[in-house]
């Protein structure tokens, strides 16, 4: 195992800590429910601290890949050369930001699951395995391990939703798992094709990126393989028309899983499009990006329209996620620096914002056992803090200046207008729709006549306040002081192949 600059272990720790936590939990008696919670809370805190450290320690004027670690796994065999397969981890500007997102959401989600009574040990074991997979995917610099961690992040969802979910949980879990694994199948076929085409006997991503850029993977092959990768990853990013698992899955999932799923996992898909699409197959990306722009725009407008017609809180957020991930895909499809930077910022912004939304929905559902918007009214009087938190998320959602959503969407719109003005206009229309469904929610749920049935609802618990406050801090910091965020992301984005100024 080789470390670079003595920092590689920090990156490894983000994967090792949750796995270790899962292992400790395996040996914790299931009856010790409080011990399980404390172990998980500590794990979440460590992960948040590690991710903040990685984000701040990332040198904006340094190398592209920092905090390297390389541990050879299989090499010099029949069809693998001396680079072979290695657990190679590194941080670049994009993964530094997304790791920060993961750390914050992981901690918040661990706290949000405090109330789980039914087999809470098993829940947390799966939860930490999932998060190890997420961190691993963001840091993997080896194609094999990229896919390994990617799958690791997707698989626990089936049980997490199927066992601890609500509202048609089995259907939601099965649909989600099968669609996501269907996407993985496409990626897997793509990986075989890339490995075979590049013919350099390694899964090392930088070597393969070089092969993609110097033509070792022929342009024709790239054009054939790119759709496999883009659609395969796109399923997880809720790319229209492969988004249908998203509303069902979110509706069925327990609170913490919705938070992590909408907050972090969907970003893995978009991140995969950067890693396996733009970086690995630049020719293919150039050829297909207009198509991705069309699909992304349809997703943005469609998601917002559909959200407007829903009554279930979680469905609204599910469709609004489709819409916001549509922006992310649009940003990536611009292939210019500002657009892609915006897309990455939007991944972060949507991540924390949507995690906050699901946290609030969970806090309400735990008491009310319904999520039908029409049944509520005047909650501002009953649960003032809840309303404030939810309103902040909602305002970030519509892209109000001062919140993270504004920073991100502004970048995306500017980027889109540069290359595709018509789609830019459509995107802004979708943003207006977002304002409509959020304001409708404010009007019917927060204000208006109080339904006496709900007068006994309790406001947020201290744990929920802590969890929400962290997410709000992230939203506000990025909204008012975005230089650290744009610097880190821009540092990497400008060097992506095929990206124009």
């Amino acid at each position: 195992m080789t470390f670079d600059e003595g920092q590689g272990y920090v990156v490894l720790a983000t994967i090792a800590v949750p796995l270790l936590a899962a292992l400790i939990l395996v040996f914790t008696p299931g009856s010790q429910k409080m011990a399980v919670r404390y172990i998980s809370a500590v794990t979440g805190a460590i992960l948040a601290a590690l991710s903040i450290y990685i984000f701040t320690a990332y040198q904006v004027d340094g190398d592209q890949a920092q905090m390297n670690l390389r541990w050879t796994w299989v090499e010099n065999t029949a069809f693998l050369g001396e680079n072979g397969i290695a657990l190679r981890l590194a941080v670049d500007g994009i993964s530094a930001l997304l790791a920060l997102l993961t750390g914050v959401v992981a901690f918040a989600g661990a706290l949000a699951s405090w109330k789980i009574e039914y087999r809470n040990k098993d829940f947390y074991i799966l939860y930490w395995i999932l998060l190890a997979g997420v961190f691993g995917t963001f840091f993997a610099y080896d194609l094999f391990f990229f896919f390994f961690f990617y799958e690791l992040a997707v698989m626990p969802l089936y049980l997490l939703i199927g066992v601890w979910g609500s509202t048609r949980k089995e259907y939601g879990a099965a649909k989600l798992t099968l669609m996501l694994v269907g996407g993985s199948v496409l990626i897997w076929i793509g990986i075989f094709a890339v490995f075979h085409q590049a013919n350099i006997g390694t899964f090392d991503l930088p070597s393969l990126w070089a092969a993609g850029q110097n033509g070792a993977i022929s342009p024709t092959a790239q054009k054939v393989i790119f759709p496999l990768m883009a659609v395969g990853c796109g399923v997880l990013a809720a790319l229209w028309p492969f988004h249908t698992w998203s509303p069902d899955g979110h509706m069925s999932a327990p609170t913490a899983v919705s938070m992590v799923h909408a907050g972090v996992l969907m970003k893995l898909g978009a991140f995969g499009i950067i890693r396996l699409g733009i970086q690995l197959l630049p020719e293919g990306a150039e050829f297909w990006m207009p198509a991705l722009m069309v699909l992304g725009t349809i997703g943005a407008v469609y998601g917002a329209t559909a959200a407007l017609t829903q009554r279930d809180f979680k469905l609204i957020s599910g469709y609004s996620s489709v819409s916001h991930m549509g922006y992310v895909l649009m940003g990536l499809a611009t292939m210019n620096t500002i657009g892609i930077t915006g897309a990455v910022l939007q991944m972060f912004s949507h991540g924390v914002m949507t995690a906050l939304v699901f946290l609030m929905i969970g806090a309400l559902y735990d008491q009310a056992h319904t999520r039908d918007m029409k049944e509520f009214g005047g909650l501002a009087k009953v649960m003032p803090l809840w309303v404030i938190f939810y309103a902040i998320a909602g305002l970030a959602n519509v892209g109000l200046p001062g919140f993270s959503g504004f920073t991100a969407e502004f970048h995306i719109f500017v980027g889109t207008f540069r290359t595709y003005p018509v789609f830019g206009a459509l995107a802004i229309f979708a943003a207006a729709l977002a304002a409509a469904y959020m304001l409708r929610m404010f009007a019917t749920v927060f204000f208006g006549p109080t339904n006496p049935h709900w007068k006994d609802l309790k406001d947020l618990t201290p744990i929920e306040r802590l969890s929400g406050a962290m997410l709000i801090a992230s939203i506000v910091i990025m909204g008012v002081w975005w230089a650290p965020f744009t610097d880190r992301v821009g540092h990497t984005v400008t060097l992506l192949p095929g990206v124009t100024g």
């Binding site: 796994w73 065999t77 896919f147 698989m155 199927g162 269907g182 993985s184 076929i189 075989f192």
Partner: protein, 499 residues
């Protein structure tokens, strides 16, 4: 000079087999699980003796049998499988009266020895005899529950279809002998390489008949019809034995035969294997979806797995020795992963079935509540079959498919990946029963017999180890694959030098 020492490990295995049968004959009152543990001990000794043959220069016994790393690989696998199945049976057979334990355990060892000979055979009749020894042992083992009608039916079906396939195989061998004038693999290769006229139709027919015969043994579609019934009727440990040892032995024979004797006619058989692979994996996985019985589900899922493995055989026919080594070592490492996974699955299933008595998928309902450890092992095995990360199947299937990828085979590789996706669906249906539903009635937590528990735990560790650190397994497989192609290239070189 006849080198009898080459068979020392098999002497041990067969000696223990005879000893066990004798013990039951002369001391009928002996505790039956003693015999099982004796078998396991014998398998261990056999394994240890097999280890001594690793890393040695290849040695031939009269041109009939070759002892090299390839043979040793399958010998070690056979010993390992017999060890696990014997321990599994110890607990399982306690509940069944009317079983002749001596024969049961003895035949396990004999069948395992037959597998070694199938792997090492370098002559058609030796291969055929070994195949028949294996088949006859299995015919008896499948029907050993004499009072169980399903077991009888399964055995009968298996014997009839097996005899039919043997006839096809033998007819194919005779056509090959007729055209080549020799039964030795090297001789056949030489004869076919040096013939003047084009391809003889008799050779094509012979190859296809041989293919049908071995296709039956590994249960490749459309020769798979016997498998679900035999799997369902056989005692659970024998089902495990069928789906591991019998398949591995079939592939051992195919690999050596087609990489040496028939290498010249690769163009003739490679498309047939490719078609067989595509058909087998699709049929296996699609029919598996409809199964309600666990053993039938495993039968069809293993047919699907055979489909993936057949791609490697097809890939042998495309390209050079390098592709051959890639494909073969991929296949061998996948066999290891597949066998460990299957045995883990069956250890856990045996423990669960011992308790519930139900072999239906619905019988696993709520297992995560009543016996979380077994549920975990079953889940890990199924995920490993589906090829998910952390578990053996992820790494080994990757090596298998990667090694078999060539320009001509890539479409089947893509089909295989799609099929893995289909397979995940029915694996999830099993996992769903265990985790999403509560147990029926007032089922409570129970303890598993220590032997089965330990077996399942060790095999689970094996699944995780291969999944997370496949390097050693892969290097071992490559070492085993190399002699096949060293010999082939040496033979090719010899032919070039000859005038």
């Amino acid at each position: 000079m006849r080198d009898y020492a080459l068979f020392i490990p098999e002497y041990i295995a067969c000696g223990v087999a005879l000893l066990i049968i004798a013990i039951e004959l002369f001391a009928p009152k002996v505790r039956k699980d003693t015999l099982a543990y004796l078998t396991a001990l014998g398998a261990l000794a056999w394994f240890a003796a097999g280890l001594a043959f690793l890393d040695r220069d290849p040695k031939s016994y009269q041109g009939l049998f070759l002892s090299d790393d390839f043979t040793s690989f399958f010998r070690l696998l056979a010993a390992g499988i017999v060890f696990v199945v014997a321990l599994m049976s110890a607990e399982f057979l306690k509940r069944h009266k009317g079983v002749d334990h001596g024969e049961f355990y003895g035949l396990l060892l004999v069948a395992g020895s037959a597998m070694t000979v199938m792997a090492g055979a370098t002559e058609l009749l030796t291969a055929y005899l070994a195949l028949e020894v294996l088949s006859f042992s299995l015919y008896i083992l499948v029907g050993i529950l004499k009072r169980d009608l399903r077991s009888n039916e399964a055995s009968l079906k298996y014997i009839l279809l097996g005899a039919f396939s043997s006839a096809l195989f033998l007819y194919g061998l005779s056509l090959v002998y007729g055209t080549a004038g020799t039964t030795s693999y090297a001789g056949i290769a030489e004869a076919y390489a040096s013939r003047d006229s084009g391809l003889d139709p008799a050779v094509v027919v012979g190859l296809m008949l041989i293919l049908a015969g071995v296709g039956f043994k590994v249960s490749a579609a459309p020769f798979h019809m016997w498998a679900p019934d035999a799997y369902e009727g056989a005692p659970l440990p024998i089902t495990a034995f069928l789906s591991t040892l019998s398949k591995a032995a079939g592939f051992a024979l195919i690999l050596r035969l087609f990489s040496s004797a028939f290498v010249t006619d690769a163009e003739t058989w490679r498309w047939a294997f490719l078609a067989l692979a595509a058909l087998t994996m699709t049929v296996g996985n699609l029919i598996a979806i409809q199964q309600k019985n666990l053993k039938r589900l495993v039968a069809y899922s293993s047919i699907g797995q055979v489909g993936y493995m057949l791609i490697s055989i097809a890939a042998l026919g495309y390209g050079d020795a390098q592709v051959g080594i890639n494909a073969t070592s991929g296949l061998l490492v996948h066999l290891v992963g597949y066998i460990v996974t299957t045995l883990a699955l069956f250890s856990a299933l045996t423990a669960a079935v011992n308790r519930t008595g139900s072999e239906e998928i619905a019988g696993l309902r709520g297992l995560a509540e009543t016996q979380p450890f077994l549920a975990l092992v079953i889940t890990a095995s199924l995920f490993s079959f589906a090829g998910l990360p952390f578990f053996a199947g992820f790494a080994t299937k990757l090596f298998l498919l990667q090694g078999a990828t060539t320009d001509e085979t890539i479409w089947v590789v893509a089909l295989a990946v799609l099929n893995s996706f289909i397979s995940l669906y029915y694996y999830l249906m099993v996992i769903r029963q265990m985790y999403l539903f509560d147990p029926v009635g007032d089922a409570s937590r129970y303890r598993v017999q220590p032997v089965l528990w330990g077996l399942a735990a060790v095999l689970l560790v094996g699944i995780l180890f291969i999944g997370m650190y496949p390097g050693p397994a892969f290097e071992f497989s490559e070492q085993a694959a190399r002699p096949l192609f060293d010999a082939a290239s040496a033979a090719a070189a010899a032919r070039v030098q000859a005038p």
